[in-house]
Symmetry: C2
């Protein structure tokens, strides 16, 4: 399993060329999965050290399910496997973007939509904000 060295100082985190993911107090980093071709945001999820290791080893996205408290190979039941074309880290190495090619029907969301972000928030000054289905 790949080894992740502990995060260094600010300069090392931001300008260094060693991957030292900064896991939060629950041992997680935030991961944004985007479509490999168009770059549209598909989902936001989390990885712990083991799921991140497996993702790097296998080239397929493994997450940590906070609700089920278990490792989660995305698409294992649905066929919507996410093949990782590229992984990027942000400046302080506590968030990742993965560009993925999606297997199965190409969708991502458990509700059946292509992306989990299928509703637009419409602000309103006096009432609760409304949601409108995205085009």
């Amino acid at each position: 399993m790949p080894h992740f060295p502990p995060p260094g100082d600010k300069a090392a985190l931001e300008e260094g060329l060693v991957f030292t993911p900064k896991f939060d107090r629950d041992g997680l980093v935030t991961v944004v999965a985007v479509g490999a071709e168009k770059g549209e945001v598909l989902m936001v999820a989390h990885m712990n050290e083991e799921s991140l290791s497996r993702t790097l080893e296998t080239g397929e996205a493994w997450y940590w399910s906070r609700s089920r408290r278990s490792l989660w190979r995305k698409g294992e039941t649905s066929g919507q496997i996410q093949r990782v074309v590229e992984m990027l880290t942000d400046c302080d190495q506590d968030a990742l973007v993965i560009r993925v090619e999606v297997g199965g029907d190409g969708g991502c969301c458990h509700t059946g939509r292509h992306s989990c972000f299928y509703r637009v928030v419409k602000g309103d000054h006096d009432a609760p904000a409304r949601l409108v289905l995205a085009q």
Copy 2:
């Protein structure tokens, strides 16, 4: 200030048309800011109830800085104000995507880069993963 009703059940969260953001135990939702035109991921940050309210009211991105423990009007000092063209929520309403037009020099990252995701993670079977500057 806009009012956010408490999250409902799974069906209401996923299919409802009232915005009921699901703040975590620190009172935060995860926010992915993407460029309004091309959709590239610029940064991942967090909003608490007040910063989300201000964002909806002003049309400019306000975040909660976890490191400084304070409200943070993005771009207040740098000029890199983020004008929110569209906000989307995900299926369980604990993550948001905002499509933003960036003021000032159009950048986003405090290191001076356009995006915070300027390094690619290159996995390696036996050694720590390396980082390579993105093209």
